[in-house]
């Protein structure tokens, strides 16, 4: 086995965070581990930017795995690395000997390495293993916040992670059995040829959906955003992208077949997820959790694009090629806006707001090439409108309006002013991503010959831009609570802008009303009760009762007979 520079660099970038994590085994090197945390993602970012496409077989890993630095993996690697560079920087530099910092270093490094493995994995098993590791590492990071809300979010996440991993295990098992292998290419072929597409789609949607925040299995996302530290929130964006969104892209045979029923189902789910994100964002979510709502709406946008690609296979391959850049641009820009929202009061208030608006524009316009592609294909209808993108715009409008009302939170970091700088760096990265995407450059290493394809940009996209800008304004206007009062006090009809504001506030009131009658408290109550039972190491009363029943000899025999009868019945 001979590896060139590129292969060695990829392997080093992947292994480096794990090596740094293992250094924590040596007492003397633990301070170094914390110092290494911000830099653990640097090699991966360099690899994503510089190394040409390659594949690397690891036949002795798991059941025969491999790594691939392809167009999709490269963009996700860059996204994950960028977000972890920033998250790592935010996680260190607190007070010397800080307990939170010390305890967070190990899970953060494990989550970083797992995130890179997700981006680079060329087969289902390695991807699944990395996703599992990333999930539990993120759970540990969330719980390090040590607040009541963070613990509740962590408990919800761990229950959903177990379910997600079980479903994904069954999914990969069924696909691998059908495909006779675990490479993504083989698994995609198995998805295309499956006899039970609805079952496979359900497993996929629920399995990836937990990590991506799809409606119904999203229950951890908003509380996690509302209760964790800034660094963890930035890291969560990378986790959602790599462990959730990427899964669909790797497994769905986009552009290879028409799968209209799946497309319709995903459309419906995307719409519902976006609607829930809007209701949540406009009613009960606080400013921090609002970023979680935006992320949920971005997931809905992603599902919407996947649905479009499945319904129209002629544009499926093009959409699949564009989606990673959408993830990079919107994920990185959202992270920048989260940073700016949390920035400390500075004299550069206007600069901060200007940067926040730039972030908003970058997030909102991220799917523009896909809009253009769809509109050029003549697919314009009410149902075909990009409702999740409108939801993203609405929520971001509210987010920035909220940012104008508060001045950020005091930082415990030794480098509080660094947030503006880090935010600016992320914005630069997102802008570069936007330019690359809009000008039609394929994502490739800088050492590869680069040739731009004809951009998919079209003038018809201007219509979309106008629509999204309108939604953005609506979101902003609907969030200005203080101005609502003045609008109501004055003669609304005399000033059209005030009139619009008043309408927006009425709309916001409706949304709040829907939110109140909505999703009743019983769901949260059940989940919290389940979480409380699950997190209790020994629920005594229940345990004693169950133990008394189970320890009877006849209980074991009854179970045996019941299982035998079930199997006999199933087997005819």
């Amino acid at each position: 086995m001979s590896w060139g520079f590129g292969e060695s660099a990829v392997l080093f970038a992947l292994v480096w965070p794990f090596v740094a994590a293992s250094l924590s085994a040596i007492r003397a090197s633990r301070p170094w581990v914390i110092e290494l945390l911000p830099w653990s993602a640097a090699p991966a970012l360099a690899v994503a930017l510089l190394i040409p496409d390659l594949t690397l077989a690891l036949p002795e890993t798991l059941l025969g795995s491999g790594l691939a630095l392809d167009a999709t993996g490269r963009v996700f690697l860059a996204t994950t690395a960028l977000l972890w560079l920033v998250a790592g920087t935010l996680m260190v530099g607190r007070r010397p000997g800080d307990a939170w910092e010390r305890r967070s270093a190990l899970p953060a490094l494990l989550a970083t390495g797992a995130g890179f493995a997700l981006a680079l994995a060329d087969d289902g098993l390695l991807w699944f293993a990395a996703g599992t590791l990333a999930g539990y590492a993120v759970y540990a990071l969330i719980l390090q916040a040590a607040t009541r809300a963070a613990r509740a979010a962590g408990r919800r996440l761990v229950i959903l992670l177990v379910l997600s991993d079980l479903l994904l295990f069954e999914l990969f098992l069924i696909l691998a059995h059908a495909a006779g292998g675990t490479s993504f290419a083989a698994l995609r072929g198995a998805v295309a040829a499956t006899d039970s597409p609805a079952f496979v789609l359900a497993l996929m949607t629920l399995g990836f959906g937990v990590k991506a925040g799809v409606l119904g299995v999203h229950l951890w996302l908003l509380p996690a955003f509302g209760s964790t530290t800034l660094g963890v929130r930035v890291a969560l964006i990378g986790f959602v992208a790599a462990a959730g969104l990427l899964g669909w892209l790797r497994l769905l045979p986009l552009g290879e077949m028409a799968w209209s029923t799946a497309g319709t189902a995903l459309h419906g789910l995307a719409f519902a997820t976006a609607a829930y994100a809007v209701i949540g964002g406009f009613s009960w979510a606080g400013q921090r959790a609002l970023a979680g709502s935006v992320l949920m709406a971005l997931t809905a946008q992603w599902l919407w694009a996947l649905a479009a690609a499945l319904q129209r296979p002629e544009s499926g391959a093009a959409i699949a090629a564009l989606l990673p850049m959408v993830a990079l641009q919107s994920g990185v820009a959202l992270a920048a806006s989260v940073l700016l929202d949390d920035a400390r009061p500075t004299r550069r208030r206007r600069l901060r707001l200007a940067m926040a608006w730039l972030a908003v524009v970058l997030v909102v316009l991220a799917p523009l090439p896909i809009f253009a592609l769809r509109m050029d294909a003549g697919i314009v209808s009410l149902a075909g409108l990009w409702w999740p993108s409108i939801a993203v715009a609405l929520l971001l409008g509210r987010f920035v309006a909220g940012m104008t009302r508060h001045e950020g939170t005091a930082s415990r970091s030794r480098h509080p002013r660094g947030r503006l700088t880090l935010g600016a760096a992320l914005l630069v990265a997102s802008t570069v991503g936007a330019a690359t995407s809009l000008l039609g450059y394929p994502p490739t290493g800088l050492w590869s010959p680069i040739q731009a394809d004809a951009p998919v940009w079209s003038l018809s996209a201007a219509v979309t831009i106008a629509g999204l800008a309108g939604a953005l304004s609506i979101g902003w206007l609907a969030s200005l609570r203080s101005r609502h009062r003045s609008a109501r006090d004055s003669t609304a009809w005399s000033n059209p802008l005030r009139s619009v504001r008043a309408w927006m506030c009425t709309l916001r009131g409706w949304v709040r009303y829907i939110a109140r009658i909505r999703l009743p408290g019983w769901r949260d109550a059940i989940l919290d009760a389940l979480a409380a039972v699950a997190s209790s190491p020994f629920p005594s009363a229940l345990a004693r009762h169950a133990e008394a029943r189970l320890m009877r000899w006849e209980s074991a025999l009854a179970m045996l007979v019941l299982l035998g009868a079930t199997v006999a019945w199933l087997g005819g």
Partner: protein
């Protein structure tokens, strides 16, 4: 006798001789006893390594000693035997190191280590037995050698547990003897043969063969803790932690599961077993045990009892893999023989560390223990995730192969059992991990012992770390040559494809 014939005998003697010598040692001869223990364990490991290399390259290690007219005491180290041998000799070394640290300063150590060595001798004999009679002899020797270890503490509870253990295992042994004698009268041989030796019998004997199968599986099922014959195992938890580790990961339970593998593959043959219609009921029994054991584990506050019920559940994966009767599931079942050993021994070592260092015996006392004993809990966490089946720890490989095998055999219900089992495993392991890592520790621990800057004694800390690392490596590099998975594939290939 050739050199190759001597090697199996030397493997037996490498633990038998030190064991007998240790019995005669005075309690104060700590250094000599430790030297004998470690020398025996290292010698055995080296000899097993030689045999592993040899068998992989086509050598056969076999020895026969005349025992009764027409019956030999026969030892043979084939691929299947080697799988169990490598596991038991490797874990014996680690457990010996752990036991030396665990029992430091306690009474009756010569007796303990003497029986400990005899126990491993019997296990090695079970692994290398070339026929049913030899198997039975070592199987019963194992029962007798482990009884003094179970009652080692000498308390009333320990003696009661020992009596229950003896009652169950001797009863099981009697049933096995009955089955073996009946089998011999029908076939005239007891020699383990690839694909079995009973398939040539006239179909009129099939009802008798089904009964023999039931006798043998019931006898072996006692040690393998299949329901409803499992009750002795949680009671035997009163034994010291190294004995629990030995019972659950190295010797007793594994001997039962290994015996079932032998009976299905090399007495009846897997295809003939399926023809007799005994594999599906066996699979259902294993599945019920998996679910029942996990359900019981959830409600145990005593940490070792929780782990014991976990063993009841996990060992049945081996039986399930065998009973699904497909080549891929066979790989899953066989490889779990090793994987479960690595993970479960780690968990018992950790439980022992918690008890010895902080006096923690109950799950409800484990709040915040991860901060006080981080390395122990890292090992525990790795093993617990392996038990749940989370990749890349070894348990995942087992579940993957069992699932694939079930799909291959068209037994889709097994997927539901695997999913339910993983869910239940998570339900009884994750709350422990949550409490240990994320809850606030109490002001004082039940019975804390100080070890300076270290969290516990070195001899107690290294063994779980080594076995936890091995569990990760066995999963992460499952496709490497000589990995447990590759060896299990080698065995399954021989079983299913050899003409």
């Amino acid at each position: 006798m050739t050199l190759d014939a001597w090697v199996p005998l030397l493997v037996l003697c490498s633990s038998l001789v030190p064991g007998l010598l240790i019995f005669g040692l005075d309690e104060s001869r700590v250094r000599l006893r430790t030297t004998l223990n470690l020398a025996g364990a290292l010698t055995k490991l080296a000899l097993v390594g030689v045999m592993l290399w040899g068998v992989a390259h086509g050598h056969t290690y076999e020895v026969r000693i005349a025992f009764l007219p027409g019956l030999d005491l026969a030892l043979r180290a084939g691929p299947l035997a080697l799988l169990f041998l490598v596991l038991s000799s490797l874990l014996w070394l680690v457990t010996t190191i752990y036991a030396i640290g665990y029992l430091e300063g306690s009474p009756h150590r010569s007796r303990f280590f003497g029986f400990f060595s005899l126990c491993v001798t019997a296990t090695v004999g079970v692994a290398m037995a070339a026929d049913m009679l030899t198997f039975l002899l070592f199987y019963e020797m194992l029962t007798l050698a482990t009884y003094p270890l179970v009652v080692h503490r000498g308390t009333e509870v320990a003696r009661r547990a020992g009596q229950v253990y003896l009652a169950y295992t001797i009863g099981g042994g009697a049933l096995m003897l009955l089955g073996i004698v009946w089998l011999y009268t029908l076939t005239g041989t007891l020699e383990f043969t690839p694909r079995g030796f009973v398939s040539e019998l006239d179909p009129s004997h099939h009802p008798a063969l089904i009964l023999i199968f039931i006798f043998l599986i019931t006898g072996l099922g006692v040690k393998a803790a299949l329901i409803p014959l499992h009750a002795w195992l949680p009671m035997a938890m009163v034994a010291p932690a190294p004995v629990s580790a030995l019972l659950h990961a190295v010797a007793v339970v594994k001997a039962g599961a290994f015996g079932i593998v032998r009976v299905v593959y090399e007495v009846f043959g897997v295809e003939f077993s399926a023809l007799l219609g005994v594999t599906l009921p066996l699979a259902i029994l294993a599945a019920a045990t998996i679910i029942y054991g996990s359900l019981r584990a959830i409600f145990q506050d005593d940490l070792k009892r929780r782990l014991a019920f976990s063993t009841v559940s996990q060992v049945s994966y081996i039986v399930l893999g065998v009973a699904i009767a497909s080549p891929i599931a066979t790989v899953g079942g066989l490889v779990h023989l090793v994987h479960q050993g690595l993970m479960k021994i780690t968990l018992f070592f950790c439980a022992g560390n918690l008890a010895e260092t902080l006096g923690i015996h109950k799950v409800s006392e484990m709040n915040g223990v991860g901060r006080r004993m981080p390395w122990t809990m890292v090992a525990f966490t790795v093993a617990a995730f392996g038990m749940i089946g989370a990749p890349p720890v070894a348990g995942f490989i087992t579940k993957w192969y069992l699932g694939l095998g079930a799909l291959d055999a068209g037994q889709h219900w097994v997927l539901v059992v695997l999913a339910a089992s993983s869910l239940l495993n998570a339900a009884y392991f994750l709350p422990i991990l949550h409490a240990a890592w994320f809850r606030e520790p109490p002001a004082t621990w039940p019975e804390e012992r100080e070890f300076g800057r270290r969290e516990t004694a070195r001899a107690l800390l290294w063994p779980p770390l080594i076995t936890a690392l091995a569990a990760v490596l066995a999963g992460l590099f499952a496709a490497m040559p000589f990995s447990p998975l590759e060896w299990a594939r080698f065995i399954a290939e021989q079983e299913f494809t050899r003409p």
